[in-house]
Amino acid sequence: MKNEDVDSMLSKLDVPRPEHLKHPQELKMPLLSYRKSSRAGLWLLALPLTFPLVAFLKYRVGVVSSALDAVERFFRAIAGHSVLTYLIPVIFLGLPLLVMIVNLLAFCHFASDRDTKALVVTIKFRPLNIIVFLMAVAALAYAFLPDAMP
């Protein structure tokens, strides 16, 4: 057998060419949007965290700024409006709760072990999700206990 024979044998080789794959469509969307989905959690928190931050800077630290006054006026206008006032619980409770659940599920895995009748909780080390989760907890804590915050 010569190298030419091997070349000929390999050239005629019938090789598999997978055609009808379904999984590629499942990778495409998360691949193109993974950065956005992770940022979405932070955007959802931006609004409920803005008010406590403004309150902290203005009344605890004593920062005097027209920008802080404008943000405070914006929230007071919403709270004082007959219809928009219903947005307040959505902003201060709904959004942080949503962010909290989404991020908790990203770093916690729950499974039940039927043999031992135990609930197995696995916590993965995902710093970004844990930080966003803690920020959501802080936003919720402020919504329930505004006077207890620093």
Partner: protein, 187 residues
Amino acid sequence: MNEEALLKEIKRDSRRFGELYEAFYKDIFGYAFRRTRQYDVAKDIAAETFLKAYTRIGGFKWQNTSILHWLYRIATNEINKYCRSRKYTPESLNRIQEEYGVDLTDYSNAETDGILLEEEMSRYREFAKVQELVATLDPKYQDVISLRYYEQKSIRDIAIILGKKEGTIKSLLSRGLEKVRERLAGD
């Protein structure tokens, strides 16, 4: 598809990367599958290849050669990581999972695809036998043999993909065929 124009569009709007993905995913997955013959490894290598391409495409410079060559180069590096240890760890995919909490390869259709491919592979016994033998060669010979005979690439294309001179590719191919011939004679 005018790849040069698409590359400019992708640099302006990264969502256009989806067109590149649509056009070349099958080639890259097929290449990884033919080299590894492991469905799970091949889909991880393909996902890792496109993730790396997606994050690095901003720095990719058009040099009058298809973007597919660049994708083949990334995939070849990933395949060789698998060849060295018979184990594959998709580093970028794992990093994305750690940092963003997103599992890009959590496919619901993976099992179905895997079963169908396994069934299909049973029709390619001759290929499986040859690839089993080729897989025992040094990765540098595996690269040129698989690109030449499984992917039907020209010597010039292989040189571009592997970043080597055409003469080097011819020489690697000749020595690779020699080794295949020796091993076939030894069987």
